[in-house]
Symmetry: C2
Subunit: 337 residues, 2 copies
């Protein structure tokens, strides 16, 4: 597999060249207060400042771009969140028709954003199996391909370009990464990070909410293990099972998975807002929560990269997370594997 990973890494490099100028080269942010708290130097890749508010734009644009070049005239996507909106935006950019399948209880803002991007919105069921069935049916009828949110090499490679840019910019700044931390939903982002870091010696860690730890369990079992996801404020990290392709990549290259709870994610959200001055969605803040859980340095100062994957969050949740509260104690379960 490791030879395959090295071969597949080329996909990330090609995606990065193709995406240059098509997506925002988001800044790398730092905070002395966070460095002090973490006991390591932390570099944040601010993909919440990406077009569409998340790094999903990278994978969607890469996948749609290749399909457009191959002559397709339309695409189909399903998701609860950022991926569907990103595919809609990417399709409009390439002049393709987009149909996106959202759950019947989707946040009205997400439905609005997909429609504003010109997509046809189909509301179907409340779980992923129902949406997948509807998306596949639409694909059979129309001949338009489905772009999966994470089980798709172009999507993984596109998401991986955020990690690749962070790795490059850390080197350029004279603070090369020792580790890279990425939140895990279906695993597309963390698999992309594994590809981007392949051969570099950089340790890649995934972060999962407690009770939404399909990747951690799958790594322990050696096969994909679905879970019944627990409630969490990190709603982007709740797929019931890690994707097949992400798992195949991660199982040979990921250093470990960190589990974090909602208190830790909330504390990370507040640190990012008050110290870095940017808005992360809780799913994105989970990356910092995980970085704060890594074993402390021994001796020299390490540099840890965190991909702030997105910033699409409802105002009411921001208000709730920023309201005065009592002191919190971290209660997560630590690093697995």
């Amino acid at each position: 597999m490791s030879r395959t990973v090295a071969q597949v890494r080329v996909e990330v490099e090609e995606a990065a060249r193709w995406l240059a100028g098509r997506v925002v080269r988001t800044p790398v942010l730092r905070s002395p207060v966070i460095d002090e708290l973490a006991g390591v130097r932390v570099l944040f890749k601010a993909e919440n400042l990406q077009n569409g508010g998340s790094y999903k734009m990278r994978g969607a644009l890469r996948a749609v771009g290749r399909l457009a070049a191959a002559g397709h005239t339309g695409v189909i996507a399903q998701s609860t969140g950022n991926h569907a909106v990103a595919v809609a935006l990417a399709a409009r950019q390439h002049g393709l028709a987009a149909t996106v399948v959202l759950p019947v209880d989707a946040a009205p803002t997400k439905v609005d954003r997909a429609r504003a991007a010109g997509a046809r919105v189909v509301l179907a069921g409340t779980d992923v199996e129902e949406r997948v069935a509807v998306a596949n049916g639409l694909s059979d009828d129309s001949g338009h391909p489905v772009i999966d949110a994470y089980d798709h090499l172009d999507v993984i490679a596109g998401q991986g370009t955020a990690s690749l840019e962070l790795i490059e910019e850390a080197e350029r700044a004279g603070t090369p990464l020792d580790a890279l931390v990425v939140p895990v939903g279906g695993g597309g982002g963390v698999a992309g990070a594994c590809l981007a870091a392949a051969g570099s010696g950089i340790e890649v860690y995934g972060v999962e909410p407690v009770g939404c730890d399909s990747l951690a369990r799958s790594l322990a079992a050696g096969v994909r293990v679905p879970v019944a996801p627990s409630p969490t404020i990190a709603d982007g990290l709740r797929p019931s099972c890690v994707g097949e392709l992400p798992f195949a990549i991660a199982r040979h290259t990921l250093r470990g998975v960190v589990r974090v709870d909602d208190d830790e994610i909330g504390a990370a959200f507040r640190l990012i807002l008050t110290e870095l001055k940017v808005l992360a969605e809780p799913s994105g803040a989970a990356g910092l929560a995980g970085a704060l859980r890594l074993p402390p340095d021994e001796g020299r100062q390490r540099t840890v990269g965190v991909v702030l994957t997105g910033g699409n969050v409802e105002a009411a949740l921001v208000a709730r997370l920023m309201a005065p509260r009592s002191v919190e104690v971290a209660t997560g379960e630590g690093v697995t594997r």
Copy 2:
């Protein structure tokens, strides 16, 4: 005066060259939603992502750097907010002693941040006259110069470099600025913007909270007019009088002043957080509130630059501004002059 302004503009260019690599070259951010609302293309210079969380770092660093080069071993500053902390940080960077005079009712976080930067903190009175008297006394005793928060050419030139970078980057992106909007406290930032824009044809507008409109009144009267500042959430925009040097620069070059109320500032704060995904302090958000007040385009699409001056804001205020609310109606007084 206009010849003088052209001559003084050189100070901004020199400051920009000197500050390159010493401050963060902050990104320029955009949002299609905000463009749509404003009816113009809006480019934001995200100085909330600057070291120290505000563009005050630019002026402080430039002023302290010149004093260090001239052989001074210490500096003194007074302010209620970002300037004192910025001078403390700049002094530490240059190995100078810093004494900062803060009001006795200063926010504990500001006292902490000044001390964390290694400054001696003196608490004195509650109004600016008391602090100025104490700062001047300390200067007489120690021989260390006072760096005024806005009545100081290096400070004005330093703050102006944020505008200069925005002007340059807008040109590079193929969307040169037609107008530039900057919030007004003592007037250092807006005077710097006037210098940066001198000779370019770019219209520069200041923004003042309703009831804190010393600059607007001074421009109307032709002499500096102090006010008894009204309460506002934009606490950085409440000096009782515009500075002498900023007024001398602005009176010949500023296109106008826009007055905005707290509802408009709050609405701008929320737009910046939810659409741009960055945290602006209300004083910084006032810039967007002002831009939304400018007369709409006729014909071709104009491009308006907004300097997001800073992002230092208490968590409780963020919670209050993001809490669910009823629909608001703008009630400000519009453009003056």
